[in-house]
Subunit: 345 residues, 2 copies
């Protein structure tokens, strides 16, 4: 469905999901285009990023670092947008910007949250390989995980927007990389295209045994982005002085209660102690001021030299955003998931 | 019972404890004095240190960083010993040394693990306020916890060998210190003598509510040395960017199975992520080469200036070591627990 020039389609949260979101948790609305005031710009969404953190924003109690979306409010999200009309001195009509316009065709911004993108060959990369997900991989793996040559790095969701970059950066650091992904196609891609040493299909049985076999020297860095069964399999394999940057726990996002016992918390604390493990949570928003410039420079160079490869899973039309997002939480995407909301030109 | 000059009494592990150790898990033996060879010294134990980590050494599967004690083997432990006879060029008969002679009257050493103590006014301090427990507090709190002025620091076992120093160092850094201890006497001592701002009696009900009331600005550093109920009460109060050095989990040491569900692990990971918490285990053995000299200098100065106070709980006679150790795991000691095994002179 092409974008209207007079109607702003948007997706609002219909209700807080119970467990996994369903299509009924979202509602489409059509409203008039907003009008920019002096000092503002009118933006038209070209690409909308879909990311797992959005699931947290849909709960009554939000993630703490940002206010949750209330029922009736528009879903939030990063976008690549084109400036339609500018009453702001720093932006001109026609240019591409990185924005937080959310799940809608049009938005107004005072410019504070906008980053001019210039004319990128692949504007959607600003939402993936040159944006938040890859920056998350960069900070989490390099600053917190600190892999050394010869060490073993494990990452799940290995072909996802974050995991794929984690694995490739770990390879650039000389580490041995073991990925975990859902399905043989993804595993083959992780090894053959991304250069992972091994990739295990999480759908096969006995993950713990297969992971142990794939990590004969134990695990030095586990980039935690899924939690659940993978974490349980990783824990006994962690080496002394292992680092566990905690970037996300996607397996928990849909859970509305804790899993049954026994309570594994004492085992975790004992392991953390005896193996001198550092478990460290991070929220990427905290790191833009200090590290984003370094990231853009390094990542630009790596992409230019072909040292890091990116894969996108592009869904056409905002009408398909809710289903695509539900699929993301189930691991049905293959690469960075973006919605092409409108024409790029 | 005074030390014999011809018989070496020692305490061996009779069997692996099931849960909390009992007196039947220990056995006394009398053997001939060992004879030092060329390059060795004969040591007589003056003070034996009793520390919670020893419980880990009694299990079939040891703590990983050191081999466990097998049934029939002598219990291990730090001692202050006097050199009885020396065939080693660096030590002379009569001098006091810090040693790892374990639970026995006499030992032979090749000198590699010995530290000459000179003539200390309080030689037992080498096992506490100038030794391993206080060094544990120093590294864990200052290097890993990194408290800043005005932040809130929480420590349990607040009058124990480690906790008492943690709290006093946190006060020296300008932090607000909330202790948790077993009994009103200990709590009063922590506040009135050690300068803690608050100390909560863990034996009273509603620890979680009382801790929340005592930490109106949340918790920035939790020095983890007990686990269990205290950890559960601390977790929801941790602030963004809180640090949790994990020094010990004494509440787990006697457990032979995991507690019932639900499994709290997902809640921990979510909290670690959303609040960007750093949870970091450490084993003090790793830090002697880099930080012990700094510690001795700083701690010596603080003790000399009266800025840090020490309290010892001295038990007389090695025959009482097993019961004293069992009491330590139940929190019955009040201050650093040492056994006076022999005459100091």
């Amino acid at each position: 469905m092409p974008q209207s020039k007079t109607v702003n389609r948007r997706v609002v949260l219909a209700r807080h999901p119970r467990g996994a979101p369903t299509l009924q948790d979202f509602r489409f609305e059509e409203v008039p285009l907003p009008t920019p005031r002096e000092g503002e710009v009118l933006l038209r969404t070209v690409y909308l990023s879909l990311d797992p953190y959005m699931r947290n924003m849909m709960d009554e109690v939000g993630p703490g670092y940002a206010p949750p979306v209330k029922p009736g409010e528009r879903m939030v999200g990063g976008t690549v947008s084109r400036v339609v009309e500018s009453k702001h001195p720093s932006f001109r009509a026609g240019e591409l910007v990185l924005s937080n316009a959310g799940w809608q065709d049009y938005a107004v911004s005072d410019g504070k949250d906008l980053v001019a993108l210039g004319e990128m060959a692949r504007p959607s990369w600003a939402l993936g390989g040159l944006g938040m997900p890859a920056f998350t991989a960069y900070v989490g793996l390099l600053d917190l995980g600190q892999p050394k040559a010869g060490e073993t790095v494990v990452v799940a969701a290995a072909t996802g927007a974050v995991g794929a970059v984690v694995g490739q950066l770990a390879k650039l650091r000389g580490a041995r990389v073991v990925g975990i992904a859902g399905g043989q196609d993804k595993c083959r891609y992780a090894v053959e295209e991304l250069g992972f040493d091994v990739c295990l299909d999480r759908r096969d049985s006995n993950l713990a045994e297969r992971l142990a076999a794939a990590c004969p020297n134990g695990i030095d860095v586990y980039f935690e982005n899924v939690g659940g069964e993978v974490f349980d399999a990783v824990l006994p394999l962690l080496n002394n002085h292992a680092r566990v940057p905690v970037c996300g726990v996607i397996s928990n996002y849909n859970a509305d209660s804790l899993p049954p016992g026994p309570n594994q918390l004492p085992r975790l604390l004992t392991t953390v102690l005896q193996k001198r493990i550092r478990l460290e949570g991070f929220i990427i928003l905290d790191h833009y001021a200090t590290r984003f410039e370094d990231f853009r420079r390094d990542m630009g160079a790596w992409l230019g030299a072909g040292k890091v490869k990116l894969r996108e899973d592009v869904v056409d039309g905002m009408e398909n955003a809710p289903a695509a997002f539900i699929g993301l939480l189930e691991g049905r995407n293959f690469g960075k998931l973006v919605v092409r909301v409108g024409d790029a030109s």
